[in-house]
């Protein structure tokens, strides 16, 4: 990290390769689209590298990067909604390597509202604590917890209905 902050391109490339996959997956889980995930993750890294000078290297890079990626995804999706005045096609493109159960769970996550989806992705996909999610999204921890609880409730109901059908 220190070398990357000093402009060492090799060190920065190593940092990129270490976090790219996770950042892209987080972007994909939030946006539900391959092409958007490419843009969001790339933009997240661009912003993170441009702001490395302000990054406190005593803190872990991953949560900071995911915070940037999540907020970028949110901004992008909200901007698209405002421009189109329509709901986005939230269904993930595809996930052929998933087991059948996980694929339906991924679909259920995609059906969550954007606000609930992003906390689920950051909490479970990225592995942040509710406090970290709250910091990343600039929300009170209570709001994060309540969104998580409602999201889980909605997912549970969805999965139960699918199971019955």
């Amino acid at each position: 990290m220190r070398r990357a902050r000093r402009g060492d391109r090799e060190a920065a490339a190593l940092l990129f390769r270490r976090y790219w996959r996770d950042a892209w997956r987080a972007a994909f889980a939030i946006t539900g689209r391959h092409s958007l995930a490419d843009d969001v993750a790339a933009d997240g890294f661009e912003r993170a590298f441009a702001a490395l000078g302000r990054f406190d290297e005593r803190r872990p890079f991953g949560p900071w990067l995911h915070r940037i990626v999540a907020n970028r995804a949110l901004d992008l999706l909200r901007a698209e909604r405002r421009l189109s005045d329509e709901e986005l096609p939230d269904t993930p493109d595809s996930a052929p390597s998933h087991a059948a159960g996980d694929r339906s769970l991924l679909g259920a996550v995609a059906d969550l509202s954007l606000e609930r989806r992003v906390v689920v992705v950051l909490r479970y996909g990225v592995g942040m604590t509710p406090k970290q999610v709250a910091e990343a999204l600039d929300l009170p921890v209570g709001t994060v917890n309540s969104r998580l609880a409602r999201a889980l409730e909605q997912l549970r109901e969805t999965m139960e209905v699918e199971h019955v059908e």
């Binding site: 990129f16 790219w20 993750a41 790339a42 890294f45 992008l76 996550v109 479970y124 889980l152």
Partner: protein
């Protein structure tokens, strides 16, 4: 159930699809491009800073002693200069938004809010939901409440912006090195594509169907770029062209040149002679050309096929012709119809004035 669900969620997201390798390489290239070294503080500099700080402390102590003795009046810190008064921008009746850059300061007023910031260029999105702004070396989309929707490193100062009528693309001109470069980017801030690496710093104009736009290329030639086919066509008018304006419907294109205005569409080409043009635009579907006079401007109106449709006078200097209103500067006020948009200093530079 929740804990079982949570366990599955963790597994499912960890098992999400893999990113394409090509996307990773491109992203790495982009990220490395913005990497800037952060200089580590040097020992010598640190020592010098300590010596300087010590000297300042001694000086303050000495000044304090003298002040206590009545021998010196101490005033620490210059009085901060108040910021220049922000222009009061008013939204004309029926409009979604209005924007103007006055002396480098952008003011935006929309139904959703108002905001101000330094800007080098600006363009309202359709229905004024956002404003695209040249800010530093970036192109930035800002919501009316001042929130940044996205920011894109432009690689130079953005000097002209045009948002497509359908909102999906933005054409913009960047001052990069010694050249002006034309780019197109999606309305959500992604897929930036350089279109022409040598253009003039003139605001592009989108055709009504958003499938193509006109710009002024190298040598002052007017060019129409087809976004779908990624092809360009040079318009046969004498250079240098100094302004381009597509009609709000159809394909008529007005071009301002050294001898007047040319009106070009698929079937006709008409030239309107005028030694001087103050402003050019489409007003209620007709071409309006403002010709400067002593105390007033003559606004000549033409149908899209170039047929004259009369003229009128406007007291003052015509600063912009927008789809529904002509904006005139009278003394220090900018007026659009019956609305005083804002008051500006007499010598103020007003640019990118738009009413959407």
């Amino acid at each position: 159930m929740s804990s079982e669900l949570e366990r599955r969620l963790e597994g499912m997201l960890a098992d999400a699809p893999e990113p394409d390798p090509g996307a990773g390489e491109e992203a790495l290239h982009r990220a490395l491009r913005v990497l800037r070294p952060v200089a580590a503080p040097r020992r010598g500099m640190r020592a010098a800073a300590l010596v300087f700080a010590g000297a300042v402390v001694l000086l303050v102590i000495a000044a304090g002693s003298l002040a206590a003795a009545g021998a010196l009046h101490v005033s620490i810190g210059a009085k901060s200069k108040p910021p220049p008064p922000a222009p009061e921008l008013r939204l004309p009746k029926g409009a979604n938004g209005v924007a103007a850059i006055v002396n480098g300061q952008l003011s935006v007023a929309t139904r959703g809010g108002r905001t101000q910031l330094p800007a080098s260029a600006a363009a309202l999105s359709p229905r004024a939901l956002y404003v695209a702004v040249g800010s530093g070396d970036s192109l930035v989309a800002i919501a009316p409440d001042g929130r940044r929707a996205w920011s894109h490193p432009a690689g130079g100062k953005v000097v002209a912006i045009a948002w497509a009528p359908d909102g999906f693309r933005i054409a913009y001109v960047v001052h990069a090195g010694r050249r002006f470069v034309l780019h197109v980017i999606y309305g959500n801030g992604v897929n930036d594509t350089p279109i022409d690496r040598s253009v003039r710093a003139v605001r592009p104009s989108w055709r009504a169907d958003s499938l193509s736009f006109a710009y002024v290329g190298g040598g002052g030639r007017a060019v129409v770029y087809d976004v779908g086919h990624e092809s360009r066509r040079v318009v046969a008018v004498h250079p240098p062209v100094t302004a381009v304006a597509f009609a709000p419907s159809g394909d008529a294109l007005a071009l301002e040149g050294p001898t007047g205005v040319s009106l070009v569409n698929s079937s006709a080409h008409r030239h309107i002679n005028s030694t001087s043009v103050e402003a050019l635009g489409w007003l209620k579907g007709r071409l309006a050309v403002a010709v400067p006079g002593l105390n007033s401007a003559l606004i000549r109106v033409f149908a899209p096929d170039g047929a004259p449709r009369g003229s009128s006078r406007a007291d003052g200097i015509v600063k912009a012709i927008t789809p529904e209103l002509v904006v005139v500067q009278r003394g220090r006020t900018l007026v659009a119809g019956h609305t005083t948009l804002l008051t500006v200093p007499r010598s103020a530079t007003v640019r990118d004035l738009q009413i959407g």
